[in-house]
C-alpha cells in the first residue's frame, strides 16, 4: 500500500485533528479478553487502527533451563510487528526497534507481576501487532496486562499505557500514525495507578520541560480512563461465563 500523503495541517483552525478529535481525546478503544483457546491468557485491543493480539503462557518450565532464576519467575516478552501491519511490508526478521520495545515493555510489566510466587519458571508474553497505527507499544502494554490477568497470574494491579505527543506546537493525546510521523515529539507512558509509578517512559523529538510536565499529566489522566476500561473488559468476560452457568443450571432443573 502506498503511504498516505502528508496532511497539510495536523490541527485545523478550530483546534480539530485530522481524525476529528480534540487535543485531549483518545481514539476509540475496544478491549476483549480470553479470545485464544490454547494460550493460558489472551487479550485483543483495537485503538484507532491498531489491532494487537496478546497471548500469555505460564508460569511454565523455563526453556532453556539456564535462564531460570532461583528466587522468582523470569518474565519474557516479545513485541513483534506482522509484515503486513504497516504501509510498506516489514521484514519479518526481528528489528532493533522490536528488540528495544520488547525490553521496555517487559520492564513496564515486571513490577506488577508477583514473580516471586513461581521460582524457576517463565511467564511468557507474546505481543503481535497485526496492524499498526501509532502508539502500538502502549496499546500492547494495555492488552498485555489484561492477558496476564486472564491467565490467572497473580498481579498487584493492571498497567495502563498511553502516549502523548506534540503536533503543531500543541501537546496532543494518543497520536495516530500520521501525527507521530509528522509531529514534533512522541512521549509514550505506562502507569501503575495505585502504586503511582510510571513504569514506561520514552521520548523522542523536542519538548520544553513545561511541555513535558503538561504532556505527562495528560498521559496519566488518559491512563486512568484506560485502566477503568481494562477493569470493565475483565469483568465482562466473567459476566458472560455467569450467564452461561445460569442457563445451564436452568436447563438442568427442567431436566
Amino acid at each position: 500500500m502506498p503511504e498516505p500523503k502528508q496532511p497539510e495541517k495536523l490541527i485545523d483552525d478550530k483546534g480539530v485533528r485530522i481524525d476529528g478529535r480534540r487535543l485531549d481525546q483518545l481514539r476509540p478503544i475496544k478491549l476483549e479478553v480470553g479470545i485464544l483457546d490454547k494460550a493460558d491468557g489472551s487479550a485483543y485491543i483495537e485503538q484507532g487502527k491498531n489491532k494487537i493480539l496478546v497471548g500469555v503462557y505460564g508460569p511454565r518450565e523455563a526453556h532453556p533451563k539456564h535462564i531460570a532464576l532461583p528466587d522468582r519467575a523470569v518474565l519474557r516478552c516479545r513485541y513483534r510487528m506482522a509484515p503486513f501491519s504497516v504501509d510498506e511490508r516489514k521484514n519479518p526478521a526481528p528489528s532493533r526497534r522490536e528488540m528495544e520495545l520488547s525490553k521496555v515493555i517487559r520492564e513496564s510489566l515486571e513490577s506488577v507481576v508477583l514473580t516471586d510466587l513461581y521460582p524457576r519458571t517463565t511467564i511468557d508474553v507474546f505481543i503481535e501487532v497485526l496492524q499498526s497505527d501509532g502508539g502500538s507499544r502502549c496499546a500492547g502494554i494495555t492488552a498485555a496486562s489484561l492477558a496476564l490477568a486472564d491467565a490467572g497470574i497473580p498481579m498487584r494491579e493492571l498497567v495502563a499505557a498511553c502516549a502523548v505527543g506534540k503536533i503543531q506546537g500543541h501537546m496532543a493525546l494518543d497520536l495516530s500514525d500520521a501525527e507521530d510521523k509528522y509531529g514534533e515529539a512522541d512521549l509514550p507512558v505506562a502507569w501503575v495507578p495505585n502504586a503511582n509509578l510510571v513504569t514506561l517512559l520514552q521520548m523522542d523529538g523536542i519538548l520544553t520541560t513545561n511541555e513535558f510536565e503538561t504532556g505527562l499529566t495528560m498521559a496519566l489522566d488518559a491512563c486512568k480512563t484506560i485502566h477503568g476500561m481494562q477493569q470493565e473488559a475483565l469483568k465482562s468476560k466473567y459476566l458472560v461465563i455467569k450467564e452461561v452457568a445460569e442457563e445451564r443450571e436452568e436447563t438442568e432443573v427442567v431436566a
Binding site: 516478552c77 528495544e100 520488547s102 517487559r106 520492564e107 513496564s108 501503575v192 509509578l197 513504569t199 496519566l220
Partner: protein, 272 residues
C-alpha cells in the same frame, strides 16, 4: 525475546550497604546524590577515524570512533545523509558481557544515543548530500565499551558528542559516478549538542550517574537527553520498577542543569 536478566550475585550485605548509604544521603564512592564521578575526555586518539574520543567516567571507560564514508541515502529521505549508531559491549569490558550478536542492552544503548543525536538534529544531515537521492555521506558512530563500572549511557553520550564535535573530513564531490576528495580537512558541521544525563532510583532516593553497585540494586533508571537550548530531546526509562510523577519533574530539572555542566566540559575537550 526479552527476558528478566540474571544479575550477578551481590551479597545481601553489600546490597544493604549501598541502599543504606544512599538513604542516609551518602554514596558508596563518597559522592553527593547530584554529583558525577570525575570525568576525563580525550579526543583524537584514533588517527584513522574522522573523529574519536575516549571518556573515563570514574572507572567506566568508553571509546567512540566516528567514520564518514560515502553511500546511498534512504529512499524516504533522499536529501539527507545517513547516521548510524552502533554499540559493542565486548567481553573485555565486564564479566557480564559475552561474545555473540548484540545483546538487548547494547541495542538499547545504541538506540538511546542515536535518538539524542537524531532528534536534536545535531549532525547537519542536509550538508552530507553529494547527489540528491543517489549519493550521500554516511556518518558511522561506533561505541566501544572498554570498562563497565556503571552508567554506560552517559559515558557513551559524552564520548559520542566529543567524537562528533572533533570530527574532521575531506570535502567530497561527485565527478560523474566517482567520488573525488579535495585536500584540506574541515570540521563536521554540528547544529546541536545533545547530552544524556542518567538517574537511578535507589530505595526512595534519586541519584545521578549511578556506579555499577548502585545499578545492581536500583529500582529504576531514567535517562534524559538535553539539547543545547535546555529542551528535552530523548528519554528512556529502564529497570524493573518506576518513578512517581513528582520524581520525574525533579529529575528533568536536574538533568537540564547537569547537561549544561557536562556540555561545557565536552566542547572544551573537543576544541583542545
Amino acid at each position: 525475546m526479552s527476558f528478566t536478566p540474571q544479575l550477578p550475585p551481590v551479597a545481601k550485605l553489600e546490597q544493604k550497604t549501598v541502599i543504606d548509604l544512599v538513604a542516609n544521603g551518602k554514596r558508596i564512592d563518597d559522592r553527593t546524590a547530584d554529583s558525577y564521578r570525575p570525568l576525563q575526555i580525550q579526543v583524537g586518539l584514533i588517527e584513522k577515524a574522522n573523529g574519536s574520543a575516549q571518556v573515563s567516567l570514574g572507572k567506566s571507560k568508553v571509546l567512540v570512533g566516528v567514520k564518514i564514508e560515502t553511500g546511498t541515502p534512504f529512499p524516504d529521505t533522499p536529501d539527507e545523509g545517513v547516521l548510524t549508531v552502533n554499540a559493542e559491549l565486548g567481553p573485555l569490558a565486564s564479566p557480564l558481557f559475552e561474545t555473540g550478536p548484540p545483546s538487548e542492552q547494547a541495542i538499547e544503548l545504541a538506540r538511546v544515543i542515536d535518538r539524542g543525536i537524531r532528534e536534536s538534529k545535531a549532525v547537519d544531515m542536509k550538508s552530507l548530500v553529494l547527489l540528491k537521492g543517489k549519493r550521500v555521506q554516511v556518518v558511522f558512530v561506533d561505541i566501544y565499551i572498554l570498562d563497565h563500572d556503571g552508567n554506560l549511557i552517559d559515558a557513551a553520550s559524552i564520548a559520542a558528542l566529543a567524537a562528533l564535535a572533533s570530527a574532521k573530513l575531506l570535502k567530497a564531490e561527485l565527478k560523474g559516478d566517482e567520488v573525488v576528495y579535495k585536500p584540506g580537512l574541515h570540521p563536521l558541521p554540528l547544529n546541536n549538542h545533545p547530552v544524556a544525563v542518567t538517574f537511578a532510583k535507589v530505595g526512595k532516593t534519586i541519584v545521578v550517574d549511578p556506579v555499577l553497585e548502585e545499578e545492581q540494586v536500583m529500582n529504576a533508571r531514567l535517562t534524559v537527553t538535553i539539547e543545547k537550548n535546555g529542551n528535552i530531546c530523548a528519554m528512556q526509562k529502564g529497570g524493573l520498577s518506576g518513578f512517581t510523577q513528582d520524581e520525574l519533574k525533579t529529575i528533568v530539572h536536574l538533568a537540564v542543569q547537569k547537561a549544561a555542566e557536562n556540555r561545557a566540559k565536552i566542547l572544551a575537550a573537543a576544541k583542545g
